[in-house]
Symmetry: C2
Subunit: 204 residues, 2 copies
């Protein structure tokens, strides 16, 4: 009697759109749509307005790819940071994660993805040229690779290494090993093996 | 260094808004916001547009409270439905759930909530007057209560019963019992007790 059990094309369109979000299935999308439908109109306008402004007004730093509200990169413009070290990451989310640790005070370089032939993403789709430009400027002495250990991450790191090894910079990678709170028993062989090979002086 | 670990008031506003959705915490909200930020602008406009239209353009039936795109209630205007039976539910979501079963062909009455003093919701905030008006019209012979078994649901059902018992209508309630696939062992006493008291002829 009802098309796909909804009585409304408007509701269905909203559910379709909400279901495009990562981790949101159609059932959850319906719940979210009905929640919004039950909210006062000004709340929904505030909600959608915030998302419109997010996409429309946010600025990306042309050097590192970091976001800002006013075009003034909060990382690149911070004089307290070490301007000789650049950490290469896949996405903005990785920057936020690393910042959360409070353990890094250098600059960043957001690639905007990783090389993934299956998804049709090649080196030309990433901000690799911009990284090379930064190295050519000559002020950077270390590049820290902080890419994922997936096949695509390793491929990207290798490709980058070939591009930047001609510069007089130290190229490092974040340490791999057994995570805090992880059980040795359940740690995969590759990680545990790397963790033993890279063992460090016990320093309690 | 960054306020609440985000570098952007725009991002933070989007996360705040996404976190108002039911079941979405701040961590998930950040993930959703970063996803939208990475999408093409037209996709985000389609996304927010669908939600704006949902709230702005959807119509509620003045009789039963059901939604429609054009003001023509899909339930009330359906001549194949039994117009002598009205099922009283809390929300639109309950209507969709009951419609999914394919077991009900009568009309609905959406209350728009249940009586909940803690949340400041009294009888005057619900569509009870509209239900009484429908009964006064004299064409309805049965009212099916399909409210939740919570304290608030029971209170609302009792209040409704007092309002409508003066009309010559049969008042029924949906059956309570052990659900399909539920273990007797883990069914609460109240449900199991009701299920035994309301036992029916075995009809395999």
């Amino acid at each position: 009697m009802f098309r796909r059990n909804y009585s409304s094309a408007l509701l269905e369109e909203a559910v379709d759109q909400l279901a495009t979000l990562p981790g949101i299935g159609r059932r959850t999308a319906l719940r979210l749509a009905l929640h919004l439908l039950g909210e006062p109109r000004e709340n929904v306008e505030q909600f959608t307005g915030a998302l419109v402004r997010l996409k429309r007004d946010i600025r990306h730093c042309p050097v590192c790819g970091m976001i800002s509200d006013d075009g003034n990169c909060p990382v690149c413009s911070d004089t307290r940071r070490d301007r000789t070290v650049v950490c290469v990451v896949e996405s903005l989310r990785d920057v936020l994660s690393i910042e959360n640790t409070g353990q890094y005070s250098g600059l960043y370089h957001i690639l905007g993805g990783i090389i993934s032939p299956i998804d049709g993403i090649g080196p030309g789709d990433l901000r690799i040229r911009e990284l090379v430009d930064r190295l050519e400027a000559g002020t950077i002495s270390e590049v820290v690779m902080a890419l994922s250990t997936s096949m695509e991450g390793e491929t990207t790191a290798y490709y980058l290494y070939k591009q930047i090894s001609r510069f007089p910079v130290k190229v490092t990678a974040i340490a791999r090993g057994v995570g805090f709170g992880d059980d040795l028993e359940y740690t995969d062989e590759l990680t545990l093996g790397r963790s033993i090979a890279n063992r460090q002086l016990f320093n309690p």
